[in-house]
Symmetry: none
């Protein structure tokens, strides 16, 4: 019942414009599927459909957030540094974090997530994260904070 209905929903959406759940309900009824708006709300949630000014649409290939599967809390910076961090060093207003191979991206992402005001932006390669701070003073602040995580 449910599976078939959800397939039908995707079919309807891929071929016509739907701007409300009630409209979707009417279109499904023409296909012989009769349900309430509440059920559609739940289906839409499960299918991870998106609603924009142009109505509902199928989940956009590129998930901007998580790969949808495992929904845990995102790992903290501390955990990332523990797992991947190797060394930190400051250079003027920049901080360079050395990581294990492949660890730079996750560390940079976790760093961004912290939302620290001393961080203007981060760039990650394969095993190096470059952190840009407004000035040397705040770069020092960040360096210390990360070094402390490394050493804990």
């Amino acid at each position: 019942m449910k599976d078939q209905r959800q397939i039908a929903i995707r079919e309807v959406l891929s071929s016509s414009l739907v701007t409300s759940q009630d409209e979707l309900r009417r279109k499904l009824r023409r296909r012989g599927i009769e349900v309430t708006q509440a059920t559609l709300s739940r289906d839409i949630h499960e299918l991870q459909l998106l609603k924009g000014p142009e109505g509902y649409s199928l989940p956009n290939g590129h998930r901007s957030t998580a790969p949808a599967g495992a929904d845990d809390a995102p790992p903290s910076l501390k955990e990332m540094i523990d797992s991947f961090g190797l060394r930190v060093q400051q250079a003027m207003n920049q901080v360079v974090i050395g990581t294990t191979l492949g660890g730079a991206q996750p560390v940079a992402a976790a760093l961004d997530r912290e939302g620290w005001s001393e961080v203007v932006g981060t760039l990650a390669g394969d095993d190096t994260v470059l952190v840009i701070c407004p000035d040397p003073k705040r770069a020092g602040e960040i360096t210390g904070r990360i070094r402390r995580m490394l050493e804990s």
Copy 2:
């Protein structure tokens, strides 16, 4: 007023999870922007933001409509900033441009294409472009120019 607010909205969304317009309203208030839910509804419509089970998200750069003119002139920096740009900030002789995920590469490419003399080089990650300038003064020049594009 409106332009600045809409930029702030994109920034908030790119860095935190927002599941309702009222939540967005509170987060904007912490940034000193105070508006009503009704206005946000209109902004969200104009920005073509999408809402899914995971909250609001930025439109996925690539407009689905009309894959028509595939090979036109390469997109201008202005267009790239409009599509992907979130924020600009200067740090000494560097300029950091925050973009939507995946937007850094195209923005950096467009920036290179401009051939500005104040730009020594660019580096792009996933959502951050680092622009290196000869000195702070010229970095300020670039920052202003890009900020103006953001706010248009």
